[in-house]
């Protein structure tokens, strides 16, 4: 299945693009996507503890199931205001 991946701020810079497409096998979880990304972009690893992930605009845990067409977003700690 295909997942749309968004990344912001420092994580966008590591991924070298604000938006990517990610191919995952059926039944993959948020944690699986994270693991795949860390293999492709090892600079993500130090951000693991502070990173949050949203799926379709809602924060999710790493065991959340993904579906074809989902939009997941990688969040560093926020700094608005």
């Amino acid at each position: 299945m295909q997942i749309r991946l968004l990344a912001f701020a420092s994580l966008r810079e590591i991924l070298e693009a604000p938006e990517r497409s990610l191919s995952l096998s059926e039944g993959a979880t948020v944690g699986d996507a994270q693991k795949l990304l860390e293999e492709q972009f090892p600079a993500l690893v130090p951000h693991r503890s502070s990173m949050r992930i949203a799926c379709n605009g809602r924060l999710v845990d790493s065991d959340g199931m993904l579906r074809d067409g989902d939009e997941i977003a990688l969040f560093p700690p926020v700094g608005g205001g």
């Binding site: 966008r12 969040f75 560093p76 608005g80 205001g81």
Partner: protein, 143 residues
Amino acid sequence: MDSERFSIVRGPVDPRRFESVAGAGEGALVTFSGIVRGTAHDGRAVVGLSYEAYETMARIEFEAIDAQARERFGDVRLWIAHAVGDLAVGDVAVVVTAAARHRAAAFEACRFAIDRLKARAPIWKKERYADGAAQWRANETDE
């Protein structure tokens, strides 16, 4: 005047944006404006900030803050506008306005909204320093 209640705008926010939003029953308007400071928390000279946002989710978060404020403080209305892009020192990065019949609810809702926004809204800032360097900066808990 643009009176859209929850928005992400490109460039500095006009501090007048919500100056006339109060309805006939609303006697109290409290507005918070967050302004780009010329010094960082560690004392470095800042020449500007660059904000970026996950816009669709930020607007959803602003609407959630509004709903939570009504639950907590009763009949109160909120307006929120946050900048994205490059801002200079002195520019307005965020304006939050709360309108209510009496001032207690307006003050409490405005404070609640900016506290929540700073802790939760998917918005990020990069500080740009006088020496040419730049760095992403998360909010401190008490910031």
